[in-house]
């Protein structure tokens, strides 16, 4: 069996936001943007499509979506054509699966596309189908379908134990909205001030409006292939997938694996594995896209990814260590807080930004970036997914 090195060679996005377009329309926009990124590629040579979406079956009433998308974007896959669902990490799961298929020789060129159409004419639908993302028989029946209450409890735990402040939470939002202000594909192109974030209306205290990712429609797509084919298709620097990990230690809020809600053992478990697989440590990461669904999430991620000590995530962000010029710039394209979070598309958006960063063509470039990390948490924090990309395999 072959053991091929796997590269990401192209990326694309539809415009994200509140869209008067279907999930199929937006997938086509994202795929076209991705194909335009690799002009030498013939679409007929793409032998795999993985489509990442969690809510297409419900909010777009489209199950078995992958063949529909393949037809719409002019692909005729012969190795794999299927849908992937791990909610917020669906896109990253697709990239992990495609990496395995290409590495082993079961596929040669795979497109990973994904996204969601979350706004529907039936506005209640958004707030009903969210209840399906947890153990709905039990937690859902208590009325904890929407994520803010759960992350509010997480934030309060972190504030109580480590003295994290609302200003430190707000600093995440100010940074990411500033990074996203120049990203034309994201939901928002507007920076926010510390005063605006602090004074915003409460959603689930201490989380206010700007502490939460918005509800967003959008799709994204990337292309993966093996090293030899990547050299053939592009003169750009090669970007390799160096390591992957996905850790699940429980299935719902009630069997939480850590000591407390601000202790993310499943993230540390995934981080340990991905660093081993990629043969690097947290100090080697030049740029990172981590899952800032809420401001508190990014703070805890800095700690449990090993960028700073436990309890110091708030200070790390506030002192600029996760900004340009700091230890490790995080969410350089605006992250979820500025781009939005159409679940299946988010990991793909992060991969596209990482491709741009490591090839030196990002809108907000981290100078000389060679090794990058992307991270998703999914559901009410039931799973952590991490990929490490590098200019060397």
């Amino acid at each position: 069996m072959p053991d091929r090195k796997v590269c990401i060679i192209g990326g694309g996005m539809s415009k994200w936001g509140v869209r008067e377009a279907s999930i199929v329309d937006m997938t086509q926009e994202a795929a076209k943007d991705c194909f335009d990124d690799v002009p030498a590629l013939k679409r007929a040579d793409v032998d795999g499509l993985l489509f990442a979406s969690s809510y297409c079956g419900r909010r777009s009433f489209q199950v078995n979506a992958a063949p529909v998308m393949a037809e719409r974007i002019g692909l005729k896959p012969t190795s794999i054509c299927t849908r992937v669902d791990t909610l917020c990490a669906g896109g990253s799961s697709g990239i992990i699966l495609a990496t395995g298929l290409i590495r082993s020789g079961m596929a040669d060129i795979v497109m990973i596309a994904g996204g969601e159409k979350l706004y529907t004419p039936q506005r209640w639908e958004t707030y009903y189908s969210e209840l399906a993302s947890i153990d709905h028989d039990w937690d859902g029946a208590q009325g904890i379908g929407l994520p803010p209450p759960f992350f509010s409890m997480t934030a309060q735990e972190h504030m109580k134990r480590y003295g994290t402040t609302k200003e430190q939470l707000s600093a995440v939002s100010v940074k990411n909205r500033r990074n996203g202000a120049t990203n034309p594909k994201g939901h928002f192109q507007k920076a926010v001030t510390m005063e605006e974030v602090m004074a915003a209306r409460p959603i689930a205290p201490p989380l206010g409006l700007f502490d939460c990712t918005p509800v967003t429609d959008g799709c994204a797509a990337v292309l993966l292939t093996h090293e030899d084919k990547a050299k053939e298709l592009s003169d750009r620097p090669l970007v390799y997938i160096r390591g992957t990990a996905q850790a699940t230690l429980h299935s719902m809020s009630m069997n939480w694996p850590g000591e407390h809600l601000a202790d993310w053992l499943h993230l540390r478990t995934a981080a340990k594995k991905v660093y081993e697989r990629a043969r690097v440590g947290p100090g080697d990461i030049d740029v990172a896209q981590t899952h800032d669904c809420f401001t508190i999430s990014e703070i805890i991620e800095m700690e449990d990814l090993g960028f700073c000590k436990k309890g110091e995530g708030g200070h790390f962000v506030e002192s600029g260590q996760s900004d340009f010029g700091g230890e490790v710039p995080v969410n350089t394209d605006g992250g979820l807080l500025s781009c939005g979070h159409p679940f299946g598309a988010t990991g793909i958006r992060q991969a596209r930004e990482m491709l741009h960063q490591l090839q030196g063509r990002a809108i907000k470039q981290v100078e000389g970036a060679k090794i990058g990390l992307t991270h998703n948490l999914s559901g009410l924090n039931v799973e952590h997914t991490i990929l490490i990309y590098g200019r060397e395999p």
């Binding site: 209640w124 009903y128 969210e130 209840l131 803010p148 209450p149 205290p205 009630m254 809600l261």
Partner: protein, 137 residues
Amino acid sequence: MGFENFGTVSFTAAAKAADFMTHLEAGKVMTTRCRNCGASYFPPKADCPACLSSDVDWFEIKGQGKLNTYTIVNYGPTGFENDAPYILALGEFEGGIQVLARLSRDIKPDDIKVGMSLALSPVKLPDNRVAYEFNKV
């Protein structure tokens, strides 16, 4: 009967742990312990996730629990709009059993303290529905 009348909005009518509802209607919040490996859980399960045995026993979650964390829900999901605002909390009971439930409306927001003692008990809802909630000890 199954879970037809469980909670403000129930999602699953048929599940193998339906005895939970019979006990809840009778005034007890019960859950399961595996006779084979001794593991205990909440929510209850008819088949053990640890050893996969189907030999499980019911026991009541009683005594004092501890409030670990809580949140005030201002925007309820569809089906819960008329309930908001309500308070969701995580409580921990003997043997490390963790329960997510609402706090009784008898507990005023100003009186809530992390670490305070709680009891878990059934609560009757409108339209003959039934759930469980945390109460003052």
